[in-house]
C-alpha cells in the first residue's frame, strides 16, 4: 500500500471535486432542448427573473438540476458502498449487489409495483418499500450468517450470493405475473433510470448517503486493517464484529436509498472503486471519499449522455453505465498490467 500523505490526499480530493463540478456543469448545460450555458447561468444566478422564459426555468430547475443532484448522490452512494464491500469481504468482485442488499431492496420495491395496484405505484410507496427492503435484507443476512464462531467474510459472501439468487427468482416470478405495464416498469427498474425525479426524494437520499459515507470515512482505518484479515485486524486492536456491523449498516443505508429512487444501476459500485485503486491506491482513507466523488461524477456523466444522445428520447442510465464503464475499466486494467503495477 502506497504511503498516504496529507498533501497527496488533499490534492487528489480537490482534483476530483473540480472534475465533479465540471461534470455537473456539463450536465446542467446539456440536454435535448436548446438550453445552453448562458441560459443556465442566467437562471441559476437569478431564478426569480420575470423576463425569463418559464419553460427554460422549468427545464433547468425542475428537470436538469434534480437529476444532476440525484445522479450525483446515487453515484456517490453506490461507488463508496462498492469500495467498502470489496474490503469488507476481501473479494474484488464484491459490489453493492453481491450481498443481496440491492436484491432485497429491488424485491421489496418490485413487490409493490407488481402487486400493489394503481394507487401504490404513484406515491412514495415503491421507494419506501425498496429502502426498507434493503435494510431488512442486511439484517437478515447478518442474522443468518452468524454462527458460534462469529461471522466470516466468506460466510457473509455466500449468504449474500444465495439471498441474491433468491431475490432474483422472486423478481422474475413477480415480473411474470405482473400486468403489461407493470412488467415494463419492472424491466426499467431493473436496468435503472433517473427520469421524473422529485426533489423530496433527493433529500432522503442525501441524508442516507451522508450518514453512510461519514460512517465509512470514520471507519476507513479499520477497513484498511479488515482488508488484511479478521485475525490481523483483531490483533491490531480493531473491534472486528462491531465495525463490520456498522459498515454493513452504512452501506445498506446508501444502497437501499440509491436503489429506492433509481432502480438497479449496475457497474458503478464495481468499476469506480477498482479504477480508483489503479490510480490512487488502496488506502481507504482516500479511496472512500475519492470513490464517492468519482461515482457521483461518473453517474452524472452517464445520465447526461442517457438523456442527450437520442434527441428527445431517453436511454436507461443503467445501460449507459455498463456500456461506458465496461470498456473503460478493461482499458485501465490492461494498462496497469502492461506497466506491471497489477499482480
Amino acid at each position: 500500500m502506497r504511503r498516504l500523505s496529507r498533501r497527496r490526499m488533499v490534492g487528489v480530493l480537490v482534483a476530483l471535486s473540480g472534475l465533479l463540478l465540471l461534470v455537473c456543469g456539463i450536465g446542467l448545460a446539456t440536454g435535448p432542448s436548446a438550453v445552453g450555458v448562458a441560459d443556465v447561468l442566467r437562471i441559476l444566478l437569478n431564478p426569480g427573473d420575470g423576463a425569463l422564459d418559464p419553460a427554460l426555468r422549468d427545464i433547468v430547475l425542475r428537470v436538469r438540476l434534480p437529476r444532476v443532484l440525484l445522479g450525483g448522490l446515487v453515484g456517490a452512494g453506490l461507488a463508496s458502498a462498492g469500495a467498502v464491500f470489496q474490503a469488507l469481504l476481501r473479494n474484488p468482485l464484491a459490489d453493492p449487489y453481491v450481498l443481496g442488499v440491492s436484491g432485497g431492496a429491488a424485491l421489496a420495491g418490485i413487490s409493490v409495483l407488481a402487486l400493489g395496484g394503481g394507487a401504490a405505484v404513484t406515491g412514495a410507496s415503491v421507494p419506501t418499500a425498496a429502502f426498507l427492503g434493503g435494510l431488512l435484507a442486511t439484517a437478515l443476512l447478518y442474522w443468518v450468517s452468524g454462527g458460534r464462531h462469529g461471522r466470516s467474510p466468506t460466510g457473509l459472501l455466500l449468504t449474500g450470493v444465495v439471498f441474491n439468487a433468491f431475490a432474483s427468482a422472486g423478481i422474475v416470478f413477480l415480473a411474470s405475473i405482473a400486468g403489461f405495464f407493470e412488467g415494463s416498469r419492472i424491466f426499467l427498474w431493473l436496468i435503472g433510470h433517473l427520469s421524473a425525479v422529485e426533489v423530496a426524494a433527493a433529500w432522503v437520499v442525501a441524508l442516507s448517503v451522508a450518514l453512510g459515507l461519514a460512517t465509512a470515512i470514520v471507519l476507513a482505518r479499520s477497513l484498511n486493517l479488515l482488508a488484511l484479515g479478521d485475525e490481523t485486524a483483531a490483533h491490531l486492536g480493531v473491534p472486528v464484529e462491531s465495525h463490520r456491523r456498522w459498515l454493513l449498516l452504512a452501506t445498506s443505508l446508501m444502497v437501499g436509498a440509491a436503489v429506492a429512487v433509481s432502480g438497479l444501476i449496475g457497474f458503478v459500485g464495481l468499476i469506480v472503486p477498482h479504477t480508483l485503486r489503479l490510480i490512487v491506491g488502496s488506502d481507504h482513507r482516500l479511496l472512500i471519499p475519492a470513490a464517492a466523488l468519482s461515482g457521483a461524477g461518473f453517474l452524472v456523466l452517464c445520465d447526461t449522455l442517457a438523456r442527450s444522445v437520442l434527441a428527445g428520447r431517453e436511454l436507461p442510465v443503467g445501460a449507459v453505465t455498463a456500456l461506458l464503464g465496461g470498456p473503460l475499466f478493461i482499458y485501465l486494467l490492461r494498462r496497469a498490467q502492461a506497466r506491471g503495477s497489477l499482480t
Binding site: V63, F180, S184, L188, H193, S195, E198, E314, P316
Partner: protein, 364 residues
C-alpha cells in the same frame, strides 16, 4: 419463416432490431419493435361496457340466421394469443370458436375468462396450445410471437399472424377474422360503422382548433404515442396535432425535457391504473397544457385496444379533445352520412383512404 412473414397481411415488418437500436429493450418492455398498440388491464367499467357490447353482438348473431355465412366457418377451434384478436371474435359473435386464450386476454376480457388459458402474451405454453388441438392459432406480429409461431408450425399447427399497429390493419383483422369464422356480414357491418364514425369525426373536427398534443402511454418513465400507430391516426382524425411524431414510430420513450420544450397545449395521460396525472404534470407549471388546465387523464383501456370498437374510441377521443358538445355534431354528421351511404365508402370498396383529408395533416 419466410412463409410466416408473407402471411402478415401481405406486408413485411417495417422496423427491425437493426434499424432501431433500442429495439431489444422495447420488446422486453412490451412495446413491439414494430409500432403496435399499447395494452393495459381493463377497468371494471370498461369491462362491463365491453361485456355489454359482446353480449349484444352474440345475441344478435344468434337471432340472425344470416349471421353465419352460407359456406360456414373455415375454422372452428381457435386459440387466440392476443386480446385484440379475441375481442374482435367476441364482438363478431364467434366466442364459441375460441377454445383457448392467453392469460392477458383472460384479464382484459372477463367474458372469456372461462376458456382454457395457455400462458402469457410473450411466453405461451406450446404444450398447452397443442393439447387444445386447434385448427388455427391466432397471434399478432412481433419478434417473440414469430419465434413461437415457427415452433407451433413445426408441431403441425396452422398459425395465422395478424398486424395491428395501424388503423387500417385493425379493420383488415376484423375482415379476416370475419371470413375465418364465417361471419363476414357482421364483420362488414362493424367495419362500415367504424368508417362512418371516422368520417363523421374528421368532418366535424376539420374546422376546429388543432391543439398541439402529447398522448402519454406511461408517465414515469415517459412513453408516448409516436408516429405510425393507430392511436396517432386517431389523434389525427380528431384534429389533435401529435407532437410525439418527431420522436419516431411506435411508442418511444421520451424525455421530460423534450416534452416541456415541445410546449403541448393538451396532454392526454393514459397511464394505466395510476391516478395523480394532473398532480404529476403540475410539477412543471410552464407547460401550456397545465396553465390552461388541459391535462386529461384517460382510461387507457377505453382508447388503446386495437380491437373492434375503434368507433367508440374515436368518438370518446374527439370529446376529450374538443369537449362534450361535439358528440351532438358527430351524431348529426353520422345521420347525414348514413342518409347518403355512398359517401361512407371511397371508391366503392369500403376502404377508408390511407391519407386523411388534407386539413388534418399535422402542422409544423
Amino acid at each position: 419463416m419466410k412463409g410466416l412473414r408473407e402471411r402478415q397481411n401481405g406486408k413485411q415488418r417495417r422496423d427491425g432490431p437493426t434499424s432501431r437500436p433500442f429495439a431489444a429493450f422495447e420488446t422486453v418492455g412490451c412495446f413491439s419493435t414494430r409500432p403496435r398498440r399499447a395494452e393495459g388491464r381493463r377497468t371494471p367499467r370498461a369491462l362491463v361496457l365491453l361485456g355489454i357490447f359482446g353480449l349484444v353482438a352474440m345475441r344478435a348473431a344468434a337471432s340472425d340466421p344470416s349471421a353465419l355465412d352460407r359456406e360456414g366457418a373455415r375454422a372452428s377451434r381457435l386459440v387466440s394469443l392476443n386480446p385484440s384478436l379475441s375481442a374482435i371474435l367476441l364482438r363478431l359473435g364467434a366466442a364459441d370458436s375460441l377454445v383457448g386464450i392467453d392469460d392477458y386476454t383472460a384479464r382484459v376480457l372477463p367474458e372469456l375468462a372461462d376458456r382454457p388459458q395457455v400462458g402469457g402474451l410473450f411466453d405461451p405454453s406450446l404444450e398447452a396450445v397443442v393439447a387444445l388441438a386447434p385448427d388455427r392459432v391466432l397471434m399478432v406480429a412481433g419478434v417473440d410471437q414469430e419465434a413461437h409461431a415457427a415452433r407451433l408450425e413445426q408441431l403441425g399447427l396452422t398459425v395465422e399472424i395478424y398486424a395491428n399497429a395501424r388503423f387500417d390493419e385493425v379493420l383488415e383483422n376484423i375482415e379476416r377474422l370475419g371470413r375465418l369464422v364465417g361471419r363476414t356480414g357482421a364483420a362488414r357491418r362493424r367495419i362500415d360503422e367504424i368508417h362512418a364514425v371516422r368520417r363523421a369525426v374528421a368532418q366535424v373536427t376539420r374546422s376546429r382548433a388543432q391543439p398541439a398534443t402529447v398522448a402519454v402511454i406511461d408517465r414515469d418513465p415517459l412513453f408516448v404515442v409516436g408516429a405510425e400507430t393507430f392511436l396517432d391516426e386517431m389523434l389525427e382524425t380528431v384534429g389533435a396535432r401529435n407532437l410525439s411524431r418527431s420522436l419516431g414510430a411506435g411508442y418511444p420513450r421520451g424525455s421530460l425535457e423534450w416534452l416541456i420544450a415541445a410546449r403541448p397545449e393538451l396532454i392526454l395521460d393514459m397511464t394505466p391504473s395510476s391516478p395523480g396525472g394532473v398532480a404529476f404534470w403540475s410539477r412543471w407549471p410552464s407547460l401550456p397544457a397545465v396553465a390552461a388546465d388541459r391535462v386529461l387523464t384517460l382510461e387507457a383501456r377505453r382508447l388503446s385496444m386495437p380491437g373492434p370498437d375503434l368507433d367508440v374510441a374515436l368518438r370518446r377521443l374527439a370529446i376529450h379533445v374538443h369537449g362534450a358538445e361535439i358528440a351532438r355534431s358527430i351524431d348529426l354528421a353520422l345521420d347525414t352520412l348514413r342518409s347518403a351511404p355512398d359517401t361512407l365508402r371511397s371508391g366503392g370498396d369500403g376502404a377508408e383512404p390511407r391519407t386523411p383529408p388534407a386539413i388534418l395533416e399535422p402542422g409544423p
